[in-house]
């Protein structure tokens, strides 16, 4: 059953590595990527993060590319507009469309490439996190970041019941579909509203049952979170630092380099 990102993260071998190390790598990547002034460093970060996600984290390559396609599509449209409508400097390309002149200038292209590479690196970093670190590992991180206990407890319960209700919603939808509940627009709207109201009532009931279940196991208003201890190995630490260092060096030497 692999339907959502969390499922892939649960199966990833990187799941069993230290969460803080992964978070450090991701935040480092985000920071450097965004603050870089040349397109080269963010591209390097995007490549290395993709490598880590697909080769080390064993995320299926096809899925990964598909995932990237959506945000890259958005970024690309924005980038095209930037390329055409901003910047000065020598004209690289110009043409006329229905009487209007369009042109790409060097500065504009440079800026467009920078924006594209920055957003790509950011996305790769976040995908690395979401494809290697399932939600259940992040509860410990939430706890360590001093969030109120009740927020963490609630998030744990919500996480669990998302899947219960997802199952419920899917089976209700299926039951509606086989009885032609979605055969035209009017019926679809009607069925959808019934699904919503049923889910609301069911979740209310489920709340009662949950209280019962917790009470019968001596619930005293506190849910203890048991962290799995995952020490960072020396090789992991060394490799991370090597990666940080090489990125920083690249960052320093490419700060004034323009590709165009």
């Amino acid at each position: 059953m692999t339907n959502i990102l969390d499922d892939y993260a649960l199966m990833s071998p990187l799941r069993h590595r230290n969460n803080w190390l992964k978070l450090a790598v991701v935040f480092f990547g985000l920071l450097i990527g965004v603050s870089s002034t040349s397109a080269i460093t963010p591209l390097f970060i995007a490549l290395s993060m993709s490598f880590a996600t697909v080769a080390l984290g064993k995320a299926p390559l096809k899925l990964y590319l598909k995932l990237l396609l959506a945000p890259v599509g958005f970024a690309a449209t924005g980038v095209i507009i930037i390329a055409f409508f901003s910047g000065s400097g020598p004209e690289l390309l110009s043409f006329k469309l229905i009487g209007y002149p369009f042109s790409i200038r060097a500065d504009g292209l440079e800026l467009a490439l920078l924006v594209l590479s920055r957003s790509l690196s950011g996305m790769c970093c976040l995908y690395f996190l979401s494809l290697t670190t399932p939600m259940i590992e992040l509860f410990a991180v939430l706890k360590a970041s001093r969030l109120p206990e009740s927020v963490i407890e609630l998030s744990m319960l919500i996480y669990r019941y998302i899947f219960v209700f997802l199952d419920m919603a899917l089976s209700i939808r299926y039951a509606q579909t086989v009885r032609l509940g979605y055969s035209n627009l009017r019926r679809s709207i009607h069925s959808m509203s019934m699904l919503g109201s049923t889910l609301f009532i069911r979740s209310w009931e489920q709340g009662d049952k949950l209280f019962l279940a917790m009470n019968s196991r001596c619930y005293d208003g506190k849910m203890t979170l048991f962290e799995v201890h995952r020490p960072v190995r020396a090789t992991e630490l060394f490799l991370t630092f090597a990666y940080f260092l090489s990125t920083l060096i690249l960052f320093y030497f490419t700060k004034n380099i323009s590709i165009v």
């Binding site: 059953m1 939600m135 319960l157 019941y161 199952d167 049952k209 196991r217 849910m223 048991f226």
Partner: protein, 453 residues
């Protein structure tokens, strides 16, 4: 000793429907108790009353002779001692991972972190889910979820475990594993209470049955007593257990005698004893009513085990010197059932036993043993209904090995010995890798040829 007791218990739902009326029950410690009744007969409500979740309108519930008090401290004590497993596992499992869910109970009891960890590991190992402890519940199958729910209750080490419809939505294999688990808990002294509308299960499994109908108790007794009462069952909207029904039909046709109540297939088979008649040539001086020793038979003449000592009593002598005799058989070299305790597991030892003991039938009981054995590539002939099938194989003169662990070893040993005692058919039973050893392996050198006529 009575562990749980109710006196004149009455409970009505807020909307006015009555759920329990005038209920007086006594549950003895260490028993396997089944509440049987149709859906909506009040079983689930009763369980919530027994666990202190609901407060009775009238009457009282007593634990170890002391009435329940409903302040939070006493309730805590009761809920620690009386664990309840709900019908729908999704209602019960609420933590994001298996480990966290099982740890919930012990953590609430205020145990230290180490003790909680020990409790959880122990419970998970028992139900055979140690490998899945970091999984989220939505990645588990129905049977696995049920086992997590049981482990969550077990981790609190309750004296009484109540299970509401433990086998609903489980496949036969999963159901069998849960029942094996329950047998084992019971063996270690837990009192187990289940509710079910599966009469076969209640008949086979329980020591004591409460029959419920329309929020009232309409009968109680041992399963053999209760399920014989056709009228009572009809009143409860239930039918007779299949084995009992078959037996009654057989009895009606004169193929079995003695008003037995066979619970398992081996017991049922054992009741099938038609007159065993045979034509034999007899010496001239033999009279009707004499007893003859026909010696040892084997091959097609031995029907119950490979070698049988047969005595015959002469019923009628024909003028030509032939006589009709009734045969009384006693198995000599029947098969047997060996148990292997996988707590002291050694692959080599098992391989040796399989080879030297000429085992033809291997079964495993309990998830833990199954996992262990399957990892090492030992072929299992049977993984569900193991005890019954092994007895049936042993009756046909085959040798069986059952791999299991902990309390299930003793449970299996007890069940098979009981069968041998009841049926009078001898076959070897023993545990291989325990101190008492096993007679059978030593006997294996002895050639069966010696027993020929």
């Amino acid at each position: 000793m009575i562990i749980l007791e109710t006196r004149d218990l009455k409970y009505t739902y807020p909307d006015g429907t009555s759920a329990i009326q005038d209920l007086n029950i006594e549950i003895k410690k260490g028993k396997k108790v089944a509440f049987v009744g149709q859906n909506g007969s009040g079983k689930s409500t009763l369980f919530l009353l027994l666990n202190g979740t609901l407060k009775p309108e009238e009457g009282e519930v007593l634990f170890h002779g002391a009435p329940f008090k409903y302040d939070s401290k006493s309730l805590r004590e009761i809920r620690k001692s009386v664990g309840i497993v709900f019908q729908n596992s999704d209602d019960q499992i609420f933590a994001p991972t298996v480990y966290q869910d099982v740890a919930f109970g012990p953590a609430n009891l205020g145990y230290s972190k180490e003790r909680v960890d020990a409790c959880v590991q122990h419970a998970l190992e028992h139900v055979g889910l140690s490998r899945l402890k970091d999984k989220p519940p939505h990645h588990l199958s129905g049977g696995q979820k049920k086992r997590v729910a049981i482990a969550g209750v077990m981790a609190m080490e309750p004296e009484v475990i109540i299970l509401d419809e433990p086998l609903s939505n489980l496949d036969p294999m999963g159901a069998d594993e849960i029942m094996d688990l329950l047998h084992e808990f019971n063996h270690f002294g837990s009192t187990i209470i289940i509710s079910t509308h599966d009469v076969d299960l209640a008949y086979r499994w329980s020591d004591y049955v409460f029959l419920m109908s329309n929020s009232k108790l309409i009968g109680q007794g041992t399963p053999a007593e209760i399920f014989r009462e056709q009228e009572l069952l009809k009143k409860a909207g239930l039918r007779q257990p299949t084995t009992l029904e078959i037996y009654h039909e057989i009895e009606r046709r004169g193929l079995a005698y003695g008003r037995n109540s066979p619970k398992t297939i081996p017991e049922l088979v054992n009741t099938l004893k038609p007159l065993d008649l045979m034509w034999v040539d007899v010496p001239p001086k033999v009279k009707e009513g004499d007893s003859l020793n026909l010696g040892v038979m084997y091959g097609e003449y031995a029907t119950q085990s490979p070698y049988e000592a047969i005595n015959a009593s002469v019923l009628h002598i024909h003028p030509n010197g032939r006589a009709i005799v009734e045969l009384k058989r006693k198995g000599i070299k029947a098969g047997g059932v060996l148990l292997y305790d996988t707590d002291n597991y050694s692959l080599e030892e098992i391989r040796q036993i399989l080879k030297e003991g000429e085992m033809v039938f291997v079964g495993a009981m309990g998830k833990k043993s199954k996992n262990l054995v399957e990892q090492d590539g030992i072929h299992l002939d049977v993984t569900s209904g193991v005890i019954d099938k092994s007895i049936l194989m042993a009756l046909c003169g085959k040798r069986c090995l059952i791999l299991t662990a902990g309390g299930m070893v003793d449970h299996a040993l007890k069940r098979i010995r009981e069968y041998v005692e009841k049926s009078g058919i001898e076959f070897t039973v023993g545990v291989v890798n325990r101190e008492e050893g096993c007679k059978w392996l030593e006997e294996a050198d002895e050639s069966p040829e010696m027993l020929k006529l």
